[in-house]
Point group: C2
Chain length 408, copies 2
């Protein structure tokens, strides 16, 4: 299927507006934006995927209930304060964020989804948020995608946006998204957030399944430091303005939609991995020919999460032993004696292990490959035909610095 | 029960001799010892616990079979080469190590257990090992515990030994042990190894269960970087020379033996955590009042393994949010709204969270507590009466340096 990348992020699709403004939750002198609103001009099918952490922030608890109805029309997000571990007062603040947004937009409160990211354990400054939401609603624009993406950043070094177009039957459908990174800093900047908008017409239950599938292949396959935040969430709104034949069941239409949604989610996930705290390299781990997909996922995630593997890539060391060792403890069903390992980048490709043991390889070639900024580790299990891909980054001095030395 | 700490390590108990010599597997100019032999003058009950990694080094595969017979009389260990990912040639080398040791000692080959630690993926230099084993056998001594402990070190900064005495009925029983650390470096120095000797008389099946229990409370509750090596193993030999009434079943005698074995294993495990690569602090996480022990263990291990928590302690930051977040994603059955968190060290104790939310605490007090070298995190789940303790270390620049920059 032809997928065309376009600009516009969450406002690329028809009928979506957004804004990102500085309310004052972030205490920086640079007046960084910290409140974003996304608005669909008509009610949309809505779906969400949420953190598995048992400690769930107030906005997660709130939005999980709201989005379960399958309908939504707006998303309000603040950065600078996670509204996590804040008890009943925090729950009330999340409800108020929805209420203020609904009031400003003239829509029902139940159509507003709420997300937060930032410091854990502090109450939201309600006055600041309230005027910030009002301000954001006033600034809503069909060109507001980029501002919204800036307003959800915490320690991210760059904003993360993408949009694509594709054909669904005789209609052109647009799908756009934005996200923020998963590193956590002082005292607890948290959270992976993802927000997707589309003008596709699709039934809410199908949308929920489709989003879950896409998240499992993308956001759930990245690892910066292995910690799952209290605030993680990915939301999607599908407002139907593309007027395609509504996707109501499995079949070709859903497959095409899924391909585009996967594409957008994977692109956003890779941006998060690349922008991991202190990261100097983007790592991609491809596990091939596993017996079942779950094995491929386990193996890929174990390798991408290994501090030893991550440190080795920072040191540009072709350390196949650490990779094989991580595959070994991943609980994937593997036969160590069949494993092949390859390293690949723009500078070339070498095989470093065969049948579970190391190969002699040219150290110069390895060095050139590992000096690149994007490196692929390909692990062939030679047991079946299932695969999985995971993304992450190297472990650097800067990771420790960001997470230990924030006071200085 | 009164447990008295004594010196002597693995040769503290009656009838044990050991040696540690330089064979030449380690290529350092300092002629570091790299082959150790432990010998019991009489055949002993034997038991072992092994790595769960699917990629198992040749000595692990070999010893798992040998020790399953429940009898042993000697342990041969080399450092400098893990004999892992070495195929059939490596398997043969592990068998030869047992054969050469048996030959030197004049005992059956099936009574020799083999362990290795060091570089992954390189064949053992058989000539060097063979003459090294001969040399070690010639140097066996009832005072050789310390030399043996030195010979199993890789990146360890200090040798890890302990021995204790306790009364079992009307007899005095001695239990001693040594271990090496779990950090992994260039290119793959691996492995947690533990070797315990005792003159207690105990049935092999009971010994196996008792060792498993002790390992689950000690070596399995430490985390340096979360990676499980291809070579991890803990072995015990119990030669019966203390002439206590043989421990054949559950009961008071076994409880006393278990208490002493737990003590020895926990002491060795804490030394490993303290000597984690790059570590500047020993962290102890106590989880109290869980519904079941498994929940307490999951929560304690998640906290001690979190890169964010570890970085925070390096930065001497009382970051209760990261601790609570790790408890939340641990998959332990907890109610976040009941969790209390305390920080404690030689400098004092403060509570930092109550009912799942942060408390105002004196920053000066927190600073003093966190400046210490040994810090306890106490997490009260307020749900039941089960507990668990885990040990680890902080995440420092030096960890990254050791694991990335070994070339320089």
């Amino acid at each position: 299927m032809a997928i065309t990348v376009i600009s516009g992020g969450v406002t690329a699709a028809q009928g979506f507006q957004s804004a990102g403004i500085h309310a004052g939750i972030k205490k920086s002198s640079k007046k960084k934006p910290d409140v974003a609103v996304i608005f669909s001009e008509v009610p949309a099918a809505a779906a969400g995927v949420y953190t598995q952490n048992r400690v769930k922030a107030a906005p997660v608890v709130h939005t999980q209930k709201t989005a379960a109805m399958g309908q939504g029309q707006a998303i309000v997000v603040n950065s600078g304060n996670a509204n996590a571990c804040t008890g009943e007062e925090g729950a009330q603040s999340a409800r108020l964020m929805a209420a203020w947004t609904a009031q400003g937009l003239g829509i029902e409160e139940g159509l507003v989804m709420v997300a937060s990211t930032g410091v854990i354990g502090q109450q939201l400054p309600r006055d600041i948020i309230q005027s910030g939401i009002k301000n954001a609603v006033d600034h809503l624009s069909p060109e507001g995608g980029h501002e919204a993406a800036l307003a959800i950043m915490t320690t991210d070094l760059f904003s993360k946006e993408i949009a694509v177009q594709f054909s669904l039957g005789d209609k052109t459908v647009t799908l756009g998204g934005m996200s923020k990174g998963s590193g956590m800093i002082h005292p607890n900047m948290a959270t992976m957030l993802g927000f997707i908008t589309t003008d596709a017409s699709i039934e809410p239950e199908i949308l929920q399944k489709s989003l879950k599938k896409a998240v499992d292949k993308s956001f759930n396959m990245i690892s910066v430091d292995g910690d799952t935040s209290t605030n993680d969430m990915t939301l999607i709104l599908a407002n139907g303005l593309a007027e395609n034949k509504t996707i109501e069941s499995d079949g070709a239409l859903l497959e095409q939609f899924q391909e585009a949604l996967d594409y957008v989610c994977i692109a956003l996930a890779k941006m998060i991995a690349q922008d991991g705290e202190g990261a100097s390299k983007l790592l991609e781990v491809q596990v091939q020919n596993a017996l079942i997909e779950a094995d491929a996922k386990k193996a890929a995630k174990a390798v991408i999460s290994s501090s030893l593997v991550k440190s080795a890539f920072f040191g540009e060391d072709a350390n196949w032993g650490r990779i094989l060792c991580a595959v070994g403890y991943s609980e994937a069903n593997i036969d160590p004696d069949r494993v092949e390992i390859f390293l690949e980048s723009a500078a070339g490709r070498i095989q470093v292990a065969d049948q579970g043991t190391g190969l002699l390889f040219n150290e110069e070639d390895a060095k050139k490959i590992l000096q690149e900024k994007e490196i692929k580790v390909i692990i062939d299990l030679h047991q079946g035909s299932q695969g999985a891909v995971a993304w992450g980054c190297d472990l650097t001095y800067d990771y420790v610095k960001i997470n230990a030395d924030y006071r200085t």
